[in-house]
């Protein structure tokens, strides 16, 4: 405790005493000089004042030690502690003659205050360094964006990812710096506009985001963004990217593997089919009815091999979100006729009949011919399998508003209700079908994906013992004509999960 009170009273006493002593001694000397030593009054007065003054000055000098010296020491201590004047040494309180205890305590207190401030300053810096290291050590790019999506903060990983380009322009727009493409209909920009209008605190994630780096290589990420409206610390939009390149690239590799396998399988299939056809043509006249029948069976078996290989390939692509369709303007009547023609032989060999019943003016549709060939193929195959010997499979088509609905109907064994709900699942085959027919369980799964990729729907109605109808819808060309690229001969492309792509630009 600073003994301020005693210092104050003591210094006051000393002050008062020294003044009194000066006054008294002046008087005494004057008196003594004037009356005891009998000197003239003026001389006595002068002598008194002179000697009194001397005594007074001596006292003043002493008072300096008592009063001003402590002030000097305190000021020095403060200035040293403030670190503004680093050339000032810490004071040595022992040099102050008076109030040493009080001064030492005062100087110590000043130093204490300073060191506390130092410590808290160091601690803040440590915490700041810790946070900064934490953010930079995070193995994912982290960015903070401002209201106009300009980049306000980026961590070391983000900087490394963009090969330092991120630093070159201050306040760059995120979209300019990061060349992103999204595999969904809902892009980052879409989300931001929505959220800035109506959101408070929102988080959104995107899968399989494609980032094209400055050197034109491509990496795949998952992305998450958090919007914090009017955040007090200025962190309004936080963006993080998770590198899933290995995973997605591996998936791409898997698809490549299946692709290559399909390619290998198709080679021999091509040759088999080809020579079967040659034999049918050239040996045909020499074969008896039974042998001709064998040839037909070989023919459709080879054709089915092709279908199976295609199904496997498509299913693999679909699983890895790489199944794409190319929708083009087609006349539906002509297309249906061609496809059904192709399947007539297959039906015949299995002793089923195919009939095609179409109204006069079916419109143009937007369809991927190959994709829809496979859909119809799968539905017709199913109908053939489940119908009775000699049975009829009917294919119809009708316009319904903006869509064309096509149905494939058989009058066969029908499908159990419990089974119907699972039909479009991958690998699903009911126990019944497993007994009597073959199939990979992929056909309907794929058909659903392809139809839905067209923006249509697929459904099934069945009654056990009576038969089954599969139906699907396709958009009329007119209803989607506005989405079609005017330059590129009426073609739009759409992935099974909604990538919209023109001229190999993904939707941004």
């Amino acid at each position: 405790m600073i003994s301020l009170e005693s210092y104050k009273s003591q210094t006051t006493s000393i002050s008062v005493v020294s003044h009194l002593v000066t006054a008294v001694s002046t008087s005494i000397i004057w008196y003594a000089t004037a009356y005891i030593f009998d000197t003239p009054k003026e001389l006595a007065l002068v002598m008194g004042l002179a000697i009194g003054s001397l005594i007074g000055i001596l006292f003043a000098l002493t008072l300096r030690q008592v009063i001003t010296k402590p002030v000097e020491i305190l000021v020095q201590a403060i200035m040293h502690a403030s670190k503004e004047h680093l050339d000032i040494n810490p004071p040595d309180p022992s040099k102050g003659l008076y109030g040493k205890k009080f001064l030492t305590q005062a100087v110590i207190t000043i130093n204490d205050i300073q060191s506390v401030e130092d410590k808290s300053h160091k601690q803040l810096k440590r915490e700041h360094d810790y946070m900064e290291t934490l953010l930079n050590a995070a193995p994912m790019p982290i960015l903070v964006l401002g209201h106009e999506q300009n980049i306000r903060y980026f961590n070391q990983t983000a900087k490394n990812l963009m090969s330092d380009k991120i630093e070159k322009k201050i306040d760059q727009k995120f979209g300019d710096m990061f060349n992103l493409a999204f595999s969904e209909d809902h892009t980052f920009s879409d989300w931001i506009s929505k959220v800035q209008q109506v959101g408070l605190n929102e988080t959104e994630t995107w899968d399989r985001v494609k980032l094209t780096l400055p050197d034109n290589t491509v990496k795949m990420f998952d992305m998450v963004a958090t919007y914090r409206k009017d955040d007090l610390n200025g962190i309004e939009l936080l963006v993080m990217l998770f590198d899933h390149d290995k995973l997605y690239m591996q998936e791409a590799d898997e698809v490549s593997f299946v692709s290559l396998a399909a390619h290998e399988l198709r080679g021999p299939i091509t040759v088999l089919r080809g020579y079967i056809e040659v034999f049918e043509d050239e040996l045909g006249p020499k074969l008896d009815a039974e042998q001709k029948d064998f040839m037909k069976k070989m023919d459709i078996s080879a054709a089915q091999l092709v279908t199976f290989v295609n199904n496997i390939l498509n299913a693999s692509q679909l699983d890895n979100e790489q199944l794409k369709i190319h929708m083009a303007k087609e006349d539906w009547t002509t297309t249906l006729r061609e496809i059904v023609d192709d399947f007539k032989l297959r039906a015949e060999v299995r002793n089923r009949k195919l009939s095609l019943d179409l109204p006069a003016n079916l419109p143009l549709v937007a369809v991927d011919k190959i994709g829809i060939y496979e859909v119809l193929g799968n539905l017709i195959d199913n109908a053939i399998k489940y119908s009775h010997d000699g049975g009829l499979v009917q294919i119809n088509s009708v316009v319904k508003g903006n869509e064309v609905e096509t149905t494939v109907t058989d009058h066969g064994i029908g499908i159990n209700r419990a089974v119907v709900s699972k039909l479009f699942q991958k690998f699903y085959r009911s126990h019944r079908s497993r007994e009597s027919v073959g199939g990979t369980g992929l056909g309907l799964y794929l058909a659903k994906a392809v139809v839905e990729a067209h923006g249509g729907q697929i459904w099934v109605r069945s009654k056990e013992g009576e038969g089954t109808t599969f139906g699907f819808t396709l958009p009329t060309y007119d209803s989607v004509a506005d989405k079609i690229d005017a330059n590129e001969n009426m073609e739009i492309t759409r992935g099974a999960h909604g990538w919209i792509k023109n001229h190999s630009f993904y939707r941004r």
Binding site: V278, Q317, T335
Partner: protein, 139 residues
């Protein structure tokens, strides 16, 4: 394209090339089979052929490169020769688009029997273009 007479078949799988060449010869066309890319390119450049059937997966040089060489940078090379790509691969979108841009057609071999191929070639001969049938990927 009247008078389509000569066909060059660049294909490394001999079983397949013989299968198709036989059917085309029987239909009256003159067919030359070449097994490798570089030889195929050399032969193609002689300009003797009205139609080139070009396999994408050939040794030493990709079918894509051959196509680029023949059509040139602006795609106007060898205007009197039709080039149809044949493949058993399932092409990714970008490759397919690139191919379709410079070739006159694109066939998946497993879907094309010899008779079908002859029909397609006849179609090219008669009209110079063809409509895409449901199965084959032809522009």
């Amino acid at each position: 394209m009247a008078g389509l007479k000569t066909i060059l078949f660049i294909e490394d799988d001999r079983l397949i090339s013989e299968l198709y060449a036989r059917a085309l010869s029987k239909a009256g066309y003159s067919v030359k089979q070449v097994v490798t890319g570089p030889n195929g390119l050399k032969e193609a450049k002689t300009g003797k052929y009205d139609l080139i059937l070009l396999d994408i997966m050939i040794p030493d040089i990709t079918g894509m490169d051959v196509l680029k060489e023949l059509r040139g940078k602006d795609g106007s090379g060898m205007p009197n020769t039709k080039i149809v790509i044949t493949t058993n691969l399932s092409q990714d979108d970008d490759s397919r688009a690139a191919l379709e841009a410079q070739a006159d057609g694109y066939l998946v071999k497993a879907d094309i029997t010899p008779k079908k191929l002859v029909a397609i070639v006849k179609q090219i001969e008669e009209s110079g273009n063809f409509k895409q049938p449901a199965k084959e990927k032809i522009i």
